[in-house]
């Protein structure tokens, strides 16, 4: 969808400092019109700082923030036309849902009936009923509060919407449900979205493209498939999803370059299957297993190393601890990086 579109947001050589500490080192990002772009990384890596630089809460020491070709680096927060959904939602507790959504419109001094029309219009789009509009925000569930936060951010018609870990305060089940709703809403509104998260699963399922942050640098920008299957750096490879690091003894067995670190995703290793061309089949013993329902995770001892493997649960081929199995590893599935 976003492949052909022009760049809407451009961060050029952004450097942010807090006192002597440099939080962002020369960040360069291009986000396309209508794209769902995610900043992913562990805590303190600079993803929220980058978001706050775009929204105007932080001014960079150097570099520029361009939106639609215009330099907005020094434009005040309120004049950037960027909506924000905060981690805590930041809904005003002393106002009703209606007043929360109408806040920005009232600041713009729109007429009462126009405010009313816009509020009800956006509320309908995010599935909020008239009855809910009259409630206090504390009377809503977590999911409903998230919708209010989105409605409030969208009602003023921003060109971009920024979301700072909006699902992090919710329980696991609700997160999955709202993740899907979020994606659907973004598609319906077609608005350029910047999403901050530390949850790789969230990033992979929601995003058109992902920027993986580490210690104030961007390690890789790419589609979910690119960052997952073709991780550019060892950090990205380790951070995104679970992974096996191939130890030296196994490296020897597989004839791998010892000057590199080799990694393999869990689902790429096959258990008790017929050998494919170029695949090395090694004997192994099941050490333990974790039952997840949809799949089973095995810990298998191969050449003295514990290898993690995920097998689809077909209800038939379930292996017990102590059972001898054959483990198939194809070197084309390896991700290798020079040793540092």
């Amino acid at each position: 969808m976003a492949e052909q579109a022009a760049n809407m947001i451009e961060l050029k050589n952004i450097v942010v400092k807090f006192g002597d500490f440099e939080a962002l080192h020369n960040i360069n990002v291009d986000v396309k019109q209508g794209e769902f772009f995610t900043f992913l990384g562990p805590s303190g890596c600079g993803k929220t700082t980058t978001l706050r630089t775009i929204t105007g809460f932080i001014e960079p020491v150097s570099g520029t923030v361009n939106v639609n070709g215009k330099d907005i680096t020094h434009v005040p927060i309120e004049k950037r036309n960027i909506g924000i959904v905060f981690q805590s939602y930041a809904l005003f507790p002393t106002m009703t849902v209606y007043d929360n959504i109408a806040f920005g419109l009232k600041i713009q001094k729109l007429k009462k009936d126009e405010i009313d029309r816009k509020v009800r219009d956006i509320a309908r789009k995010v599935d909020l009923t008239d009855e809910q509009l009259q409630k206090a925000v504390s009377q809503l569930s977590g999911g409903q509060q998230q919708r209010v936060a989105i409605a409030r951010a969208l009602v003023t018609g921003p060109a971009i919407i920024c979301m700072d870990e909006p699902l992090s305060n919710l329980d696991a089940k609700l997160r999955v449900q709202l993740r899907n709703e979020l994606k659907k809403m973004q598609r319906d509104f077609g608005i350029t979205t910047i999403y901050v998260t530390h949850d790789q699963e969230e990033a992979l399922t929601l995003s058109d493209r992902i920027a993986v942050f580490n210690k104030g640098y961007i390690e890789q920008i790419g589609t979910p498939n690119e960052v997952y299957n073709h991780s550019k750096t060892e950090f990205v490879c380790n951070f995104i999803g679970d992974i096996n690091r191939i130890e030296p003894e196994l490296c020897k067995k597989l004839n791998l370059d010892e000057n590199q670190n080799h990694f393999m995703r869990l689902e790429r290793i096959r258990v008790n299957r017929e050998a494919q061309e170029g695949e090395a089949v090694l004997p192994g013993e099941i050490e333990s297993r974790e039952y997840y329902g949809l799949y089973i995770k095995y810990y298998i001892r191969v050449c003295g190393q514990i290898i993690k493997v995920i097998e689809r649960n077909d209800g038939i081929n379930i292996y017990d601890p102590g059972q001898q199995v054959s483990v198939g590893i194809h070197t084309r599935n390896l991700m290798s990086y020079p040793k540092q």
Binding site: F18, R52, T55, G56, F57, I58, E59, H74, V75, P76, I77, E78, K79, I82, G83, I84, F86, Q87, S88, A90, F92, P93, T94, M95, T96, F103, G104, I107, Q108, Q134, K135, A136, V137, S138, Q139, R152, T156
Partner: protein
């Protein structure tokens, strides 16, 4: 977070003007009404002139202090403070353990009784005890009928002050010690029991150690209360520091040697003790508190006293305390609705039921020494019909409301600034300057005002003598405000901590200016706390005694002084015959006001928007039901 965006020049200029105005105001307030008057008091001790030579003798007051009877007042205050720490802790801890920790029958009713001091304190409480135990008090009358030889004036001096203050000063225990007990993780109690500890062992070894920080704070606060005691020693006759300061402040050189400088010395001694104790307290608080490390805290379950004898004794003790707490309150309420003969004979009767102590007036007929009957028109007048009382209520109401509002506004503005400039030197300076009055005893501030502003030489108040005529009201408002600043700061600052920083960001992002963000987002959030501070300060000031006594004049006769005068007027036949009844009515009135304020603060004020909307909806449904039914009935009638 840093918001460094360039702002339009006009806004910068406007904010600069506000900033300059704000700084000027706080500098004026701090130097003009906190530091300079108190420094003047301090210097006045060392600038006393020798009456014979006329030369300045810096050590004259100090010499006088050690040569005269002044140490007596200090020692008496210390004695009261030490004893009070013991008795208040015993009673305070008892009432909380009996209602919150041990399983005592009727705990809810007991708690209500023990908490009466929240709505019935200060001068009202002391006069209530006097009503009971005075030479012609109900209890004294009753006791002397049983023991004819007893001294009717038994309720005076140290013992009576200690007794009264012991039961008057447990409010903090009832609030803070109770909260500390309720915060105990019951799992720790269960764990100790599981390991074989007896209930009392658990109390001593597991529960009490976690309560020590709270108890330490309460002990220090009680000690300061004892040291600075005013209304009880004054009304019950005990020579302690505060009443002596007020007496000396009103005295003149013609009567005794340099009374003002002696008063100043006493107030500085009091300040030194207060500063020392608060330093110890804050050093102790810095060590930190015991925090439960439990992920899931269990609610405290009341402990049964298994030993039957101990159980009976605990119940007896609980109800004896209840009777001590409740008797003055019940008696005052009942006698507030009794007429003059009933009050005089201290007997209750349904036939003597009246509202005259509250409303209206009537003539008083009495027999003269010559055996003739005379009538004094309107001598019996109710609380709201007596010009003196109504004047006192009005004045106290106006001054307290004004000061409470002023303290709240000053602190809200200051705290908003402090939070915006967190970690910067200027915000630290502002915070400490507002906490400054906390270090000084109220009496020092009042005494300093009284002496410093009783002159036309103070240029920054335009050469006005603020102690003269109506000006004293301004001085009272300033004293009330300054004294209440530290409490307001602590409470409102806590409320500001509760504001999620993202709310401010969200408002800014939606286009709101800093002023609009403050007025429409932050202020509504802290408003319940601000109103609570206003209400609690108003409540405390409305019947405040210490400052009223210092500033007492015909232009500044507050409600507390009116109540005190009622005590003096009682027994003066023919003139103020129903002072006793009006005093009872006054106490009832104060209890209603205090109760109402506590209900508004902790009942209504604590509700969030959700709860308020739910209640509104319920009210609507109720009225719909009523009006619907009424509508149907009228339709039926019409049909």
């Amino acid at each position: 977070m840093s918001t460094l965006n360039k702002k339009p020049e006009t806004r910068l200029n406007a904010s600069l003007i506000w900033k300059v105005f704000g700084i000027a105001f706080f500098v004026y307030l701090f130097f003009g009404f906190m530091l300079l008057p108190c420094l003047n008091t301090l210097t006045s001790i060392f600038t006393v002139k020798d009456p014979t030579t006329g030369a300045i003798d810096p050590w004259a007051v100090i010499r006088f202090f050690f040569a005269g009877n002044m140490p007596k007042f200090v020692l008496n205050s210390l004695k009261l403070a030490v004893c009070l720490v013991i008795t208040v802790n015993i009673v305070g801890i008892s009432i909380v353990l009996l209602t919150e920790y041990f399983d005592i029958k009727g705990a809810k009713i007991l708690r209500l009784g023990y908490m009466t001091t929240l709505i019935y304190s200060g001068v009202a409480l002391v006069t209530g005890y006097l009503f009971l135990y005075d030479s012609d008090g109900i209890m004294t009358t009753w006791l002397s009928s049983i023991f004819p030889g007893m001294d009717k004036n038994w309720f005076t001096g140290f013992n009576s002050v200690l007794f009264t203050m012991t039961f008057a000063c447990t409010s903090n225990h009832a609030l803070f010690f109770r909260n500390a007990i309720r915060a105990i993780d019951y799992n720790t109690v269960e764990a100790a029991r599981n390991m074989g500890a007896s209930p009392f062992k658990v109390l001593l070894k597991v529960v009490f150690p976690t309560l020590i920080p709270t108890l330490f704070s309460l002990t220090v606060m009680t000690f300061i209360t004892g040291l600075c005691a005013m209304s009880a020693p004054t009304l019950l006759g005990y020579d302690s520091i505060n009443p002596e300061i007020v007496r000396l402040a009103g005295s003149s050189i013609a009567d005794e040697s340099f009374p003002q400088a002696r008063a100043a010395l006493l107030s500085i001694i009091l300040a030194m003790f207060t500063i020392l104790l608060l330093t110890v307290l804050s050093a102790y608080e810095r060590k930190g508190h015991y925090l439960s490390v439990s992920k899931t805290k269990a609610k405290l379950v009341k402990q049964k006293i298994n030993n039957p004898v101990a159980n009976v004794l605990a119940h007896i003790y609980a109800y004896v305390l209840f009777v001590i707490y409740m008797t003055p309150v019940v008696m005052i309420v009942l006698f507030a609705f009794q007429n003059y003969p009933s009050l005089r004979s201290k007997t209750l009767s349904m036939d003597n039921w009246t509202l005259i102590n509250f409303f209206g007036s009537q003539d008083f007929e009495f027999m003269t020494n010559r055996g003739k009957y005379r009538t004094r028109p309107g001598a019996i007048s109710g609380l709201f019909a007596n010009a003196d009382t109504v004047g006192g209520i009005r004045l106290s109401f106006a001054l307290s409301a004004l000061a409470a509002a002023l303290a709240s506004v000053i602190v809200v503005v200051a705290v908003n600034y402090i939070f915006k400039n967190k970690g910067k030197k200027r915000s630290v300076v502002l915070e400490y300057s507002l906490l400054f009055p906390w270090l000084l005893p109220t009496i020092l501030i009042c005494y300093s005002y009284r002496t410093y502003f009783n002159s036309t030489d103070v240029w920054y108040v335009f050469g006005q003598n603020l102690y003269m005529r109506e000006n004293v009201r301004f001085l009272i408002v300033m004293a009330y405000t300054v004294v209440k600043l530290p409490f307001a700061l602590r409470m409102i600052k806590a409320a500001f901590y509760a504001i999620d920083e993202e709310l401010e960001d969200a408002a800014r992002n939606l286009g709101a200016s800093p002023l609009v963000t403050f007025l429409r987002v932050k202020l509504p959030i802290v408003l319940p706390s601000v109103l609570a501070v206003f209400a609690l300060n108003f409540n405390a000031l409305f019947t405040e005694y210490d400052m009223s006594a210092t500033f007492q004049s015909s232009y500044g006769k507050s409600y507390a002084m009116v109540i005190q005068n009622m005590c003096h007027d009682e027994g003066r036949d023919g003139y103020n015959v129903n002072a006793s009844g009006r005093r009872c009515a006054s106490t009832v009135f104060i209890m209603i006001i205090s109760g109402l304020i506590l209900y508004l603060v902790y009942g209504v004020g604590a509700r969030d928007l959700g709860e308020r909307l739910e209640r509104r909806e319920k009210r609507r449904q109720f009225w719909r039901k009523i009006t619907g039914r009424a509508g149907k009935e009228s339709q039926k009638t019409a049909a």
